[in-house]
Every structure is written in structure tokens, then in C-alpha cells.
Amino acid sequence: MPVGSERAPDPQRWFRRLKPLVFLACLGPAAMLSYRAMTGTLGAEPIDEITGVTGQWTLRMLLITLLITPLRQLTGWHGLIRWRRMLGLFAFSYAVLHFLTYVVLDQFFAWNFIIEDIIEHPYVLVGFTAFILLLPLAFTSTDAMVRRLGGRRWRRLHRLAYLVPVLGVLHFWWQVKSDISEPAVYSLLLSVLLASRLRRPQPRATGAAPPATPG
């Protein structure tokens, strides 16, 4: 073994190495849906099933993306950050599938019905709003866009990642007829993830702080 390849052990490397696996795992639900579509095992109402599955995975991916930061703080595995953009883009991809299922399969481009549906039915409007809010996030996800916006503005824009899942859970909750247990679980998880951001440790001077201004 050449001596030059010796390096200090870098646990963060694992996150880079595992990234392709995470990528494949995120494709899993879509692959499963395609498989079920091809084998005709989506049940009596395939469109309904595809809508449900893509919607649920949008929510799950949004929550998993929000999990990265608290998990880093908790474990010190800072390499996790390498996965965050990819996870966020998967959330967006499932949202696109969900939206297209609605427009193409469910409504088949019946724009008058679609527009009426969005305007008249709050749960559709909320879901649609969440989808629209995801667009700028996906659009500004590249390194070039981060540079162009500047870190501060980019971060401010990407705070929408907190609002979108809130709208997503509301969109889910609003269409449930009586059994609220599923949206309630999503709400609970989302609350924990959002609450974890409230008490982020602030850099604070140790010991008694001297008066800021001279008397």
C-alpha cells in the first residue's frame, strides 16, 4: 500500500460513501409504485392509490429532510449534511408526482374543474400552495444559486421548508373523514422537529457578562 494514501481516519467519509445507497432507498417507493402499476396490483382504484402513496411520501421526505439538522446536533455526525439537499429534492420529486397524478390521472387536464377544485376546496388550495412554495426551493437548490443569492438570503428563503410540511399535514388532515390518527402522527413528528429548532444553543459568553455600554 503506498504510504501517501494514509490519512487520518475520517468518519464523515461514510456519509459520502453511503449517499448512493440513500439515493436508491429514496427511489424505493416510486419503484414499488411502478412495479405495482405494471403487475396490476394497485387495487380497485389505482389512481386513488397512487395519489395517496405519492402524497404520503412527499410528507415523509419533507420530515426526513427536517430531521437532518437536529440529528447532526444530537450525534455530531456532520456528514449528514451531504444528504440534505438530495432528500429535499426527493420530497420535491414526490410532490411533483403527486401533483401530476392529480392533474393528469385524476382530472385529466380538466382545467375548469381543477381551478374550481383549488379555489373552492380548502384542502386542495392548501396542498396546491405547499406545492407552489416548493418550487423556488427546488429552483434554488444548486450551488450556483446559493452563490448567486448569497448565504443569508438563501437561508431566509429556505425557511419555507418549515412552512411547507405544516401545509402538507393540514392538507392531509383536512380531507380525513373521521379517523385522524395518521395525520395526528405526522403532526406530532413535525412538532418535535420544529420544536427542536426553537431551543438551538445560542453562543453565549461564559461567566458574568460585562455591561455592554460604559456608564
Binding site: A44, E45, F113, D117, E120
Partner: protein
């Protein structure tokens, strides 16, 4: 001391009354049935497969719709039956071994004498016929189902209702042991049990209103409301209460389960009406299960000619 003395006969060895009573038929029925009789243990392993009651030589009612049937597979795998699960795919699995016999239905209230029927006795008293009906769910999907049933009016008439019988109230079995959806969950139950429904007496007596005991020429599967359910084809599906154990004739308009659950969304009448949207979604169109394109929903689910007269003079907006 041993109190539990083992019985000479294990329950699994007792031949079900249904098989006993049909023993001659079964013997004629060939090898499979013969194996069943010789080894009741085998039967216990696959009760659903062995026990399916078939309705032979059914007369097709003239009130039947002449439309393409929704496949048996879809009718029996896509069910709103919260007594088992709020998921539409799960009741088929969870109700697979639902024991729907023996089963009794009590009819009481404003009639000459309260009466309890065994479901098979009812089937003998009121020979069922085939009724192909459209079914429109409040969730904007629909099916065409060949029910096997008899007019509810025939049963009610035979029991001499009093003049105070203005409404009919129905009740589903409440048995969390057999209906897992009725067990309390972490977030509270999904509905108030037992499930209740109601009809005005003229709706109940209408010839289109039937008590169904089968579909596709066979007994009702558990997920479709075995062994006996209501079918009111011009109303949203939730009115067609399943697995009925009690029918009560009453003077006051009853409160049905969904109306109690969300009075702003579900009413007592719940007549199919494309012009009155559900507060959360449109009712203008529906998807026939198996179709790709949606189709327009018809007033009274296409039964306006037969039933619109029942509601003459009433505000259709109050009929949701």
C-alpha cells in the same frame, strides 16, 4: 383441583348447523363437499371457501340497471366499512373470517309485535332476487353491483306497522371482538358505535329499497356487510348500512351516525345530488371504479324518475 374437565367433544369437531342441514345437498355436491363432511377439521381451516352460500336460479328484477358490472374483485376489495378499518383495502382482509351465521335481526318499535328473525329464516320468507344497482359513494366513486336481496317494504308490511311508524332506524352489530375497527384507538374511536342509519317510512317502503343478503349470486362477503345490509341506490353509500342486527320503527326522525359525526357535511337524507357539493369536495362528477375518465353524477344517482316524487316540495339543498 381440576375444574376444567376436558369435554368429550371439542368445538372444532362439531359440524356447523349449516352443513348439517344441507348434508344431502352437500353429498350430491361432489368430492369436495364429501371431504368436508368427513373431516370437519379441514372445513374449519377454510370456512370461507367451503361455506359460501349460493343463490340458485335468481330472478333478475326489472328494476335492475342495464350497465356494465363492476368486477367482483373490485366490489369485494374496495370497501368503506369502518367497523373493520378506515382504510378501504383492509376490510377485505380483516373480515375474511367474519362469522355471519348464526345471525338474528330484531324488528321492533311501532309494529304489532317485536320479532326476531334468523337471517336464513328471512331469506326463506322473502325469496331474494337479483337487483343490479348503481352505488355512488359520497367520496365521488361509484360501482355497479348485482345485489341479491328483497324489498325492505315486504318485511315491514308483514309486521303491520302502526300509524306512528314515521321513520325506520337501523343498527349494525356492535362487537369489537369481531369488528376490530370498533376497538378504541389511541386517538379515540373512528365513529360512535353502533353505526346507525335511518330512512323515512316512505323511503323504506319504496320498491327500490332492498335488504341485500348477497352479491354476484353468492352470500355477502364480510367486507360488504354480511349477512344482511340495506341498499338504497339513490342515496350516498353510507346510508346503505351493513351487518344489520336491529330495525326499529319510530315516530321521530333518527340521527344517523355520519350526521352525528359531522352535521355540516352529512345529512339525514343524503340523496345523490351533483349540484350540492360536499363542503370539502365536489359531487358534480364521479369515477366509476375501473374507469379512467370521470363521468357526470346524475341527480338521485339516476333514479330520479322513480324517487323524485318522494321529495316534491322539499328544498333539495336540505336533502344532502
Amino acid at each position: 383441583m381440576l375444574i376444567n374437565k376436558p369435554a368429550d367433544l371439542r368445538p372444532s369437531e362439531i359440524t356447523d348447523r349449516r352443513y348439517f342441514e344441507r348434508r344431502r345437498e352437500l353429498l350430491k355436491g361432489g368430492a369436495a363437499a364429501a371431504v368436508g363432511l368427513a373431516a370437519p377439521g379441514l372445513l374449519a381451516l377454510s370456512p370461507a371457501a367451503a361455506a359460501k352460500i349460493k343463490f340458485e336460479q335468481l330472478k333478475r328484477s326489472e328494476l335492475s340497471a342495464d350497465e356494465e358490472l363492476t368486477p367482483y374483485e373490485s366490489v369485494t376489495s374496495y370497501n368503506n366499512f369502518y367497523e373493520f378499518s378506515t382504510d378501504k383495502k383492509e376490510p377485505a382482509e380483516l373480515a375474511r373470517n367474519f362469522k355471519s351465521r348464526p345471525w338474528t335481526i330484531t324488528v321492533e318499535g311501532e309494529i304489532g309485535q317485536p320479532k326476531t328473525f334468523d337471517v336464513d329464516e328471512l331469506i326463506k320468507l322473502f325469496p331474494p332476487e337479483e337487483r343490479i344497482y348503481r352505488l355512488r359513494c359520497v367520496e365521488a366513486w361509484s360501482m355497479v353491483i348485482p345485489w341479491v336481496g328483497f324489498p325492505l317494504g315486504n318485511l315491514i308490511r308483514s309486521l303491520a306497522p302502526t300509524s306512528r311508524a314515521k321513520f325506520v332506524e337501523f343498527e349494525t352489530l356492535h362487537d369489537p371482538e369481531r369488528m376490530p375497527g370498533q376497538r378504541p384507538s389511541l386517538f379515540g374511536g373512528s365513529l360512535e358505535w353502533p353505526y346507525r342509519e335511518g330512512l323515512r317510512i316512505d323511503e323504506a317502503m319504496h320498491p327500490l329499497t332492498i335488504l341485500a343478503v348477497g352479491l354476484y349470486g353468492e352470500e355477502l362477503p364480510g367486507q360488504n356487510g354480511a349477512p344482511i345490509r340495506l341498499v338504497v341506490p339513490w342515496k350516498y353509500g353510507f346510508k346503505s348500512i351493513k351487518s344489520i342486527v336491529r330495525i326499529r320503527l319510530v315516530e321521530q326522525q333518527p340521527v344517523n351516525t355520519w350526521q352525528a359525526q359531522a352535521p355540516g357535511e352529512y345529512g339525514f337524507f343524503a340523496n345523490v345530488n351533483p349540484d350540492v357539493a360536499h363542503p370539502r369536495w365536489s359531487q358534480a362528477r364521479e369515477r366509476r371504479v375501473g374507469d379512467f375518465f370521470k363521468r357526470p353524477t346524475l341527480p338521485f344517482n339516476g333514479y330520479a324518475d322513480q324517487v323524485a316524487d318522494l321529495y316534491r316540495g322539499m328544498d333539495p339543498r336540505k336533502l344532502y
